[in-house]
């Protein structure tokens, strides 16, 4: 029977992973994700409250988004592999706790907006890159600002606890422009700094900027401009040293890419009206992601910066 074969293959993979894990490192969990799902009959998806359109809440414990749709496809394949129905549980995570919660097994599949970088790869593993964000700046449409070099003497906003802070710090250093930095406590707060005129530019991931602008009082008053400060691959996060799980995640994503399904999902979440307010993010797919759909990889952010 086909099912038995795949089951025994999984079990032997599981077994070898356990032995491998036990000898190579001291793993937090002595079992693989697939084994855990098979035993418990449930899988926990780590989700974000407000990382629209990748992963966000609709209220009442409902979560939706581009990455959540992809994760549901992955879970369908996990169900086939373990050969039994699996209950999906949702656990909201934050930027601060998503890595520890993935490591300690609270979350099996993190479907949020996590940048795949080399530092994080020491602690966790990532699926094939499914979204690429470019760090750019939002300015008032009538400000005439179009380049980083024009920021001399201006005030630049960004959000505390994000990698964007590092990018402007590096850029500032390299271009010898001097500007004042202000930090919003969250993205909405940083956008308020721009809206109220306390800041002249807001540097952040372009998808987040587009989302904030779409929901602003007058979206036409703002635009996204300037060179790309950084290219960041965003991916689904899983536990490290779990080859069985990594394989299912990657096979599913590759399948979605080959069938054109991923492109449809992108159009659904980035180019059409989405809940809760039925606004459109309106962000066309960038060249980097287009290239990745043809030739997928799970390289960390550092390999993009080298270009």
């Amino acid at each position: 029977m086909k099912k038995t074969i795949s089951l025994s293959a999984t079990l032997s993979a599981t077994l070898s992973a356990i032995i491998l894990g036990a000898t190579l490192s001291a793993p937090v969990l002595a079992q693989t994700t697939l084994k855990k799902v098979q035993d418990s009959g449930e899988i926990t998806m780590g989700v974000r409250e407000s990382s629209s359109p990748l992963s966000f809440t609709l209220g009442n414990g409902q979560f939706a988004g581009y990455h959540i749709d992809i994760c549901h496809a992955i879970i369908e394949n996990i169900k086939k592999t373990v050969g039994k129905p699996v209950t999906v549980k949702y656990t909201p995570v934050t930027s601060q706790n998503r890595i520890p919660l993935t490591q300690n097994g609270t979350v099996d599949l993190e479907c949020g907006s996590t940048t795949n970088n080399a530092t994080r790869q020491k602690d966790v593993s990532f699926g094939l890159t499914t979204y690429v964000t470019e760090v750019r700046m939002a300015v008032k449409a009538n400000s005439g600002l179009t380049k980083i070099s024009q920021l001399n003497g201006k005030t630049v906003a960004t959000t505390t606890g994000t990698t964007s802070v590092q990018h402007i710090r590096k850029h500032k250093n390299a271009e010898k422009v001097s500007f004042k930095e202000v930090f919003g406590k969250d993205h909405a707060d940083s956008f308020l700094l721009l809206e109220s005129g306390r800041a002249d530019a807001f540097v952040m991931d372009d998808n987040l900027l587009a989302g904030l602008i779409a929901n602003a009082k007058n979206p036409k008053d703002f635009k996204i401009v300037g060179e790309t400060l950084s290219v960041e691959p965003i991916a689904i996060m899983i536990r490290k040293d779990d080859p069985g799980m990594k394989r299912i995640v990657d096979i599913t994503i590759r399948g979605l890419m080959d069938s054109g399904e991923l492109d449809k999902l992108y159009k659904k979440w980035f180019l059409s009206p989405i809940p809760p307010k039925n606004t459109t993010v309106n962000l066309v797919m960038g060249a980097t992601l287009k290239g990745l759909l043809k030739d997928p990889n799970d390289n960390p952010m550092e390999s993009y910066a080298a270009k």
Partner: protein
Amino acid sequence: MHLEWGFFLRDIGDGETTYLSWLFSAWGWTLAVAGCAWVLALLLGSVVGTLRTMQVTWVARLANAWVELFRNIPLLVQIFLWYHVIPSLIPPLRDVPSFVLVVFGLGLFTSSRVAEQVRAGIQSLPHGQRHAGMALGLTTAQTYRYVLLPMAFRIVIPPLTSEAMNIIKNSSVAFAVSISELTLFAMQAQEETSRGVEVYLAVTTLYIITAMTINRLMALIEKRVRVPGYVGGDR
């Protein structure tokens, strides 16, 4: 749990600052915000607390209104009012640095709490003391200066100690208006280095050291100003 502290010596990306020097500069901002706000809170709180015990009704009412206004609005909301709302109503305030605004926000909030304690200190004194002052022919100001306040302040040193320690911890709201103090450092550095546990341990230690130092300093003051036979001096 494996801890690794080496990253503190690493450069933050601007070519000159390390995480360690950033941590200490953040500590400096925490001390500066808390220190300035405390001076403001102590001055205003003493005045308002004293006014609340005056026999003149309208003065006491005004002082009551002050206390109720600043203690009934959550601190973080007050900080946002100072930072976002007030400057949009009074445009010249836009150019005031956020440091000054947060010192006012935190200082006025704490002043209402200090005022309550000063009032409690004055009201805990026997009525006879005020009457004795008046019988000696002292003016109201002299009665407060030479009779009531010297004793009242000695009585309220313990609650003022807690308040001084609180203002250190409350100064963490300054992160919300972009002051690069300890809490902002913690949130940013843990994201950049992925060493959240070490970052929060370091920051917690600095908060504890600061609060404990204040505690010991106030205990010293309490001991030095004791009056034999009166509050705290009857040993």
